[in-house]
Every structure is written in C-alpha cells, then in structure tokens.
Amino acid sequence: MISLQNINKVYRTKTIETLALNEINLEVSEGEFLSIMGPSGCGKSTLLNIIGLIDEPSSGNITIANQTVNGYNSKDMAHFRNEKLGFIFQSFHLINDLSVIDNVELPLLYRKSVSASERRRLAEEALLKVGLKNRMSHFPAQLSGGQKQRVAIARAIVGKPNIILADEPTGNLDSAMGNEIMNILLQLNQEEKTTIVMVTHDESMARKTNRLVRLFDGAQVS
C-alpha cells in the first residue's frame, strides 16, 4: 500500500543543512496498522508528512496505493490526498467557526462529484461510526478533547480513504480518552481494513498496532 525507497529529507538554510530523514525504506501493507516512534525531533512527523504528500522528500521514491507520486504537481497531489488519504492531528485542527457536521463534510467539499445531500449523508454516517451523531450541530468549542478527536477521525474517514495518517492522535488526551480514540482506530483497521500509519510517543498505544518502526536522528533503527 505504501512504499518508500531511499527517502531523504534535508532542510537547508544559508548557514546550516539539517538531515531530517536519512535513507528511509519502508513498506506498509494494505490493512496494516503501523506505528512510528522515536524521540522528539527524530523526523517522525516529517516522515508522516512525506507519506501524506504535504511535504516533499529531497530524494527517494514514494509509491502509494500502487501509484508513484514522485513528480505529481501541486494540484495532482491535492486530488490524491483528497481521494486516498485521511489525516488525524494531535491538536485536532477543527475549524472553530464550523459546526461538527460541517467540519466532517470538509474533505468532500473538494470533491466535485459529491452532491450536497450525499455529503451530508456521508458525514452523518462517519459521525455515527465515532458515536457523535447527536453532536453534529455543536461547535468544536462545545466539545471535550476526546470528542474533538472523534470529530477529526470522522472527518478523516468521511471520504473513505485507503490510508489514515495519524500524527500523535492521543497526544493531547488523557489516558481514558486516548484509549477510546485508539479503540476507534483499531476498529477502523480491523473492520474496514483501513491502512493506518500512526506517529506516537506512547509505547502502550504503539504496542496495540501491528508493527512498530523506530526512528532516531532521522534514521530507521528498527
């Protein structure tokens, strides 16, 4: 499902060059739940951003869902992200001026083929899966952290993506809420066979996934 070959990422300024990722080779199978761990600044989020096509590697090849995405222009990548990928972030990234249902509908807005009524139906369905259908007219400010992350999960799955990329999805939550979110992700992985790549600092969460990859100073150590 995901194939990274010799991925390097270098950040350059006038005076300094930082190697954020060093020769990363990674294969993620369809339906796999992979977690990435490592100390802060080791390149976990950079790697996730590169898989999510919101950042570009300095070198290396990326194949996602059998498509080699190197050389995609900005517009192609936007369409690819919209169709194939779902994102979950540590700080939820909900739009406070939109209701829960409008937040969940957001990815479908950028799909011309989906009508307004279909958008609404799919968003309600996604909210039902995360147990928040009764909160769809609420605004993010009226929700707890766990509920916000559930809304973010609903937004990530509403477009039925092949892959979900989760960047420390439980990082801002207490352990109970964290477990709740983790259970939803596991359920998505097991029941709907969604491929999930999750960056986490939490060893106990990582142990629940199929496979764990560790990074250190930009290099894959296990």
């Binding site: 919101i54 936007a78 369409h79 994102f87 990234h93 939109l98 509908e105 990815p107 799909r111």
Partner: protein, 390 residues
C-alpha cells in the same frame, strides 16, 4: 462551496460585522458624492446654448435722472457707434439677466390649462444673433415682431419638453406676465445663463422692441481676439454717449470660467476626499485580510492537507470578502434606492443610477485588488508548516 462560504460568513458574523459596516458606510459616502458629481457633470456635458468666445458685456450705468427718450436715444447711439468699429460684429441689449451674473427674472401664469413658469430674459432684436443662439425650431426675432399683436418669445428646448411635449409650439400663444399674450416664434436648444453646471432649462428670450430703460446691458460680439487698446476705445465710445465712465465691461469667457470654477473646486475637493476614503478602505481591508489570513494559517494548512488546491484557497478568501462586500452593498443599495423611489431630491433618477453603479464598481474593484495579494499569499502557505505551527 458557495453554501460553505456563506455558512462560514454567517458563523463569523460578529467579526464580519465591522467589515460589512465599513463597506456599507463607504458605499453611502461614495454614492452621495458620486450623485452630486454625476449630476453636475451631466449638466456640464449639455450645451450652454450661446457663445461666450469674444463676447463682452457692458453694464450701462445711465443716470436715473435721464428721461426715457434720452435713455432710448443713448442706447441707439451706443449701438451705432460700436457697430461702426470693424472689430465688432454686432451689439444686442438685454435686461439685467446677463449670463453668469446671478440675476433672475421669472414669470408664471396658471391660466393656460397648466401652470407655465419660466425665467425670462428681455432682449432686443439683435440679441439672439449676438449671443449666437441655436434655433432648432421656428425662427429668431425679426423687425416685424415690433409691430406684431403679440410679444414674440424664443423658448428653450428644456422648457418645450417640460410643458409642451410633442405638441406644436411655434406660433402658439400663451398668457404670461399680467395676462399679456406671448407668442412662441422659435425654440432654441439651450440657454444655461447661470453657467455650464446649471440645470435650469426653463428659459424664454422675450423680445422688447424699444431700447427702453429696462435694458441695462449691452452684449458686444467681436470679430475675433482684440487687445486691451480696443477695449479702451469701446470704453471711450460708451463713456462719450452716457457721459460717465464708472461702468464695467466684462468678458463673458472669463465670467464663464469663473462661474465654472465655483463648481470645479468643490468637485475636485470631493474627489480628493473620496480618494482618501478609498485609500483608507483599501489599507484597512488589506490589513484585515492580512491579519485574518495569518490567524487562519492552521485552517489553510488543514484545507490543503485534505485536498484543497491553491486555487481553492485563494478563491475561498476572495469569495468570502466578496460576499461580505455584496451584503454591505445590498443594504447600501436599499437605502440609496429610497432617493429615486421617494423623490426626496428633485434631480433626475439617472444620476442616482450612475452613482449606484459607480460606487459599487469602485468598492468591488478596491476589494478585489486588496484581497488578491493576501489570498495569493494564503494559497502559498505550506501545509506541513502551517499544521505544525498550531
């Protein structure tokens, strides 16, 4: 997407209110100024109806003690002496209603089947030719009018349009001053004797056969440009007849320019104020948009991550500001439309429509210009960086 943007605007109504208010007030101010300017410029664009190039006016100061016959004889002699100069084409007399001197002489009568009202300039037979009026229907005065049963008058096209419509007016007779019957002998295109910016189009030139004492002004048409030495000659010729030298000769061209300047100065001042206002609106909008976009960087990052193209981002920001602008303009239009609907001010509705269109055009252009660069900057926000900042 449009519904989504409207939802976003509605949910952010508090923060959008000030922007809406700014647009609304800017529209009202621009509409008011443009109405005034349009009204004046439309008046300015119509023909003045007479010649001012190389035409002088001498304000005769004949002693009041002079008897009527002497008065008439003096005027005859002035005309004779001035016409003897080869530099002079002709001399005509009128009452004190000389172009650009702010004098008025109005008559009205209710017993013509309607209320006929007009400003009236009393003139001698040569006056229309000296002033080079443009007769569009009928004829100008001639010597036979002196012996006619009815007083001959020339009316302006504006007066004809207002009172007579498609009716035949040449040779028709109407009651005016003291039930005196006046006969319309011709129609002239215009006679804006208050100046280029005047909107008064109800004017009659009334023929006075006698060079009587009501004629205070001699209009002198020259063959072409002459020097001050010739003005001195004219001055001496008139002074020699009326035996005094405290009268004034003015150049109609200069008077016309001075009168127009009284309008141009406030128009330019209003335009300057409007320019300053537009600049302030532009800077304000630019600042607000710049601030909003910086505040919404994580949102832009998220939208880019979930599939928005750069074009979607820039068009979303432009549409958001345009929708708020349209709401402000719609409310502004509602209030502006009351002026033509309720006829609160007696000016043609077309002036309001031009002003509405102009004010909307200016505001939308300013908004588009001011929103273009910030929205382009928003589209360039790198999603990975923006998402990491929050």
């Amino acid at each position: 997407m449009i519904k989504h943007i409207l939802t976003l605007i509605w949910n952010k109504k508090r923060s959008n209110f000030l922007l809406f208010l700014e647009i609304f007030l800017a529209f009202i101010v621009l509409f008011s100024v443009l109405t005034l300017v349009t009204y004046n410029l439309r008046n300015y664009s119509t023909p003045i109806g007479f010649d001012t190039e190389d035409v002088w006016v001498a304000y005769l100061e004949i002693d009041e003690s002079v008897d009527s016959l002497t008065n008439i004889d003096m005027k005859r002699r002035i005309k004779q002496e001035l016409n003897a100069f080869p530099e002079i084409n002709g001399v005509g007399y009128s009452n004190s209603c000389v172009p650009f001197n702010d004098s008025n002489n109005a008559f009205g009568h209710r017993e013509n089947g309607f209320r006929l009202f007009s400003f009236v300039i009393e003139a001698d037979v040569d006056y229309p030719e000296v002033m080079d009026v443009n007769v569009v229907e009928g004829r100008t005065f001639n010597e036979s009018d002196a012996y006619a049963k009815h007083t001959a008058v020339l009316i302006t096209q504006g007066l004809r349009d207002q009172y007579f419509g498609d009716r035949e007016v040449v040779d028709s007779i109407y009651l005016m001053d003291n039930d005196e019957p006046w006969k319309i002998v011709g129609v002239i295109d215009a006679y804006k004797y208050h100046g280029d910016f005047s909107d008064e189009n109800r004017v009659m030139l009334k023929y006075e056969p006698q060079l009587e004492s009501r004629f205070f002004s001699a209009l002198i048409e020259l063959n072409g440009a002459v020097g001050p030495e010739f003005e001195e000659k004219v001055n001496k010729a008139i002074a020699g007849v009326i035996n005094r030298s405290d009268f004034v000769i003015k150049h109609l061209k200069t008077e016309r320019e001075l009168t127009s300047r009284e309008y141009w100065v406030p128009i330019i001042a209003l335009f300057s104020i409007c320019g300053f206002l537009i600049l302030n609106i532009a800077l304000g909008l630019f600042g607000v948009l710049w601030y909003n976009i910086n505040k919404r960087r994580p949102e832009v990052g998220l939208r880019r991550a979930i599939g928005a193209t750069k074009y979607s981002i820039s068009s979303q920001f432009i549409l958001e500001i345009l929708f708020v602008t349209f709401i402000g303009l719609l409310v502004g239009l509602f209030f502006a439309a009351q002026l033509p609907i309720l006829k609160l001010v007696d000016i043609e509705n077309i002036n309001y429509y031009y002003a509405m269109g102009g004010a909307m055009g200016i505001i939308i252009t300013v908004v588009l210009i001011c929103s273009f660069y910030p929205s382009q900057q928003a589209a360039r926000i790198h999603p990975a960086l923006a998402l990491h900042e929050d």
